[in-house]
């Protein structure tokens, strides 16, 4: 599994520019699904048909990562930028970004006169080593993702964009493990989640599922001075009850708990105060769906060094397989 995670997390794919992610994921899934297609916005969708006795289920894991977009090139060839998704200024200084063509830049900021304050995004810039606007290889409107090498250490995986490439891995591995199932399951590797769960919205509009389950990261309450949260890294797959955008379907949460207990999968119940997932868009699409989320507890979210526990990831895969393999009664 580590190779798959490494391949996906290190790849380029800020919201709106997920072509390279599709190139990596499609070969992983095409032999395990009945149909695979890409929709108008770029969502990669794989359908695994059921035996007709079940429901229509949509699984969503987003391929896009947070990133930056160039807004202006100075005369000396430095790049000013804006955020794509939730990029926080205090994670930027000294970091590196990569553009679609592989060009790498260093992120720095205007002179810091007050060390107790963090410069806003507008006062940061990217340095690609150009000497002038004319010889700069990058243009206004170009998008970049952050770069950092993937590390597996003990039970932990550390990388950028575990949000939500680790969710994609859970989806891919679960799909590979499914055999005959009752439900028609649409695995949607979605686009543009970080800028407002937009890919999931259009995919759900087209699919109109009865049930929607997102596979995404969630925070933890186990780091120093963390906001109270009953989720810890390493304590199991998290079953989301509520987040900033959605209250999960109570019956679906009950079912997830039941399956986890039956399969002896360690789990935790998650209430996340800020943030949301693709599930919120699936819940409200068309006539509405019973929506929920299997979350991978993740430390240091939206930084270049997110961290998850392998056991939690494996638990999420097992839980998803168990849910999709049995009846879904809400």
């Amino acid at each position: 599994m580590n190779e798959l995670v490494k391949k996906l997390v290190e790849a380029y794919g800020p919201s709106g520019f997920e072509d390279q992610m599709r190139d990596l994921i499609r070969p992983e899934i095409k032999d395990h699904a009945d149909e695979v297609w890409t929709d108008a916005l770029g969502n990669l969708i794989a359908l695994k048909k059921g035996d007709g006795s079940g429901l229509k289920v949509m699984i969503a894991a987003h391929m896009d990562e947070i990133g930056v977009m160039v807004t202006h090139i100075t005369e000396e060839g430095f790049l000013r930028f804006t955020n794509i998704g939730g990029v926080r200024p205090h994670t930027l200084h000294g970091g590196r970004v990569q553009f679609a063509d592989g060009t790498i830049g260093v992120v720095a900021s205007d002179r810091i006169t007050d060390r107790s304050k963090i410069h806003s995004l507008e006062k940061h810039y990217i340095d690609v080593g150009a000497t002038s606007r004319e010889d700069c290889p990058v243009s206004v409107g170009d998008a970049a993702g952050f770069i950092r090498p993937f590390i597996a250490q003990g039970n932990q995986l550390i990388a950028k964009s575990l949000d939500d490439r680790i969710g994609c891995v859970v989806g891919i591995e679960a799909l590979k493990q499914l055999s005959a199932i009752p439900h028609d399951v649409y695995f949607v590797f979605s686009v543009q989640e970080e800028v407002g769960t937009r890919g999931a919205e259009t995919a759900a509009n087209a699919i109109s599922p009865d049930v929607g389950i997102a596979l995404d990261v969630t925070g933890t309450g186990d780091t120093p001075e963390a906001y109270p949260m009953a989720v810890s890294m390493g304590k199991g797959a998290a079953i989301k009850v509520k987040d900033g955008g959605m209250i999960a379907h109570a019956g679906l949460v009950r079912l997830m708990k039941q399956r986890a207990e039956e399969e002896k999968i360690p789990y935790q119940l998650e209430v996340l105060v800020g943030g949301s997932t693709d599930a919120r868009s699936i819940q409200i699409a068309n006539s509405g769906a019973a929506a929920g989320c299997i979350s991978i507890p993740t430390r240091h979210l939206h930084t270049p060094s997110e961290m998850v526990d392998k056991g939690d990831v494996e638990g999420c895969i097992k839980l998803l397989v168990a849910i999709l393999s049995g009846p879904i009664e809400l």
Binding site: F17, L41, T71, T82, S139, V140, Q192, G196, R198, N205
Partner: protein
């Protein structure tokens, strides 16, 4: 004098009460389209059938509403309390003339004379809830003005050399451009033109128009704020008058489809039409809700730069306007299915 721009900017149509501008647009396009209809929200949606060479369904959207005010109370002394419809800076309202309600009653937003202000009052911004519209009446006038009536600025369209001044270039300039696109020869594909309502209060009209039309590709024509005034601070230059129509790559609600953006810029280059890349980020357009309708629609946005947006007097470059129309035409006529096909 550009009669089209004059007529459209002088018409009144504050979000949710676009009747006058809707009727005007209907009259302007009726002879140039095959069908038109008005939906329950008030969107004017017209179909200009294509030559049959392409089976694409293309939607071009231009919102017809403008920012303005809504009357919240008719006071016993005859003055009117109001709230903003759309985003406003409180500072642009004082000392302005407005027209209220379907009968266009004239009113002024007055201010306490400076002579009578103390020092702290001179420095304080007067908030909207302390302002009143004075229509010169001595007491509440009953049926002439009702709570819920809208008020719009009163500005006459004028041309000053290369530029024009009027209210509501956002987005009557976009509407005018769309009218001109409809007055041209039929396109290879069926063109659905949507003059939509309530963009300024949450992209509302475009949402239902897009649902109804179900296009394969969409283009939104807008007016985007120009940031080209002299400024001491070194701020990244944004959109400027005279540099051509602004092509969007990303705004607060949309990441425009990169393939359509590339098509538009290539078309501009090959037709020698000047254009600028609108600074990514910030601002919202109807493109956001159109892109997310049904199973998703590849969509892009082209806008004319406008100074002093959401104030009584906006300014555009007439050259930019002409180039917007040219670019819109050229980009549409060379639109093909292949452009939005996916290879992976």
């Amino acid at each position: 004098m550009n009669e089209l721009l004059k007529q459209l900017t002088e018409a009144v149509g504050v979000s949710g009460a676009e009747n006058e501008v809707r009727l005007l647009l209907r009259d302007l396009i009726a002879d140039h389209v095959d069908e038109w209809e008005v939906d329950t929200m008030g969107n004017l949606i017209a179909l200009k059938k294509g030559t049959g060479d392409s089976d694409l369904r293309v939607l071009v959207d231009a919102h017809m509403d403008e920012v303005g005010l809504i009357i919240t109370e008719v006071c016993s002394d005859g003055s009117l309390k109001f709230d903003p419809i759309g985003g406003f800076d409180d500072r642009v309202l004082l000392g302005k003339v407005v027209q209220v309600g379907p009968k266009k009653v004239m009113g002024v937003i007055g201010a306490k004379p400076v002579h009578l202000l103390n020092q702290s009052e001179r420095d304080r911004v007067v908030k909207m809830d302390a302002m009143r519209i004075d229509i010169g009446a001595k007491k509440a006038l009953g049926s002439k003005i009702k709570v819920g009536d809208r008020a719009a600025f009163v500005t006459e369209y004028e041309e000053l050399g290369q530029t024009a001044v009027a209210k509501a270039f956002d987005n009557r300039a976009g509407c005018a451009a769309l009218v001109e696109l409809l007055r041209a020869e039929p396109y290879p594909f069926d063109l659905y033109a949507a003059f939509t309502v309530q963009e300024e209060v949450g992209l509302r009209g475009a949402q239902v128009a897009a649902y109804h039309v179900k296009p394969d590709i969409a283009l939104v024509l807008e007016c985007t704020p120009a940031y080209d005034l002299p400024n001491k601070e070194d701020v990244s230059p944004n959109v400027a008058l005279g540099k051509g129509p602004a092509v969007y790559v990303m705004d607060s609600g949309t990441i425009q489809d990169p393939r359509l953006v590339a098509h538009i810029t290539k078309t501009a280059d090959s037709h020698n039409i000047p254009y600028q890349i609108r600074r990514p980020g910030g601002g919202g357009t109807n493109t956001a809700v159109i892109q997310r309708s049904h199973g998703g629609v590849p969509a892009a946005t082209i806008a004319i730069p406008g100074r002093y947006a959401h104030t009584p007097c906006m300014m555009i470059s007439l050259q930019d306007y002409a180039n917007l129309v040219k670019l819109g035409q050229a980009a549409l006529r060379s639109l093909t299915k292949e452009i939005v096909q996916r290879k992976n």
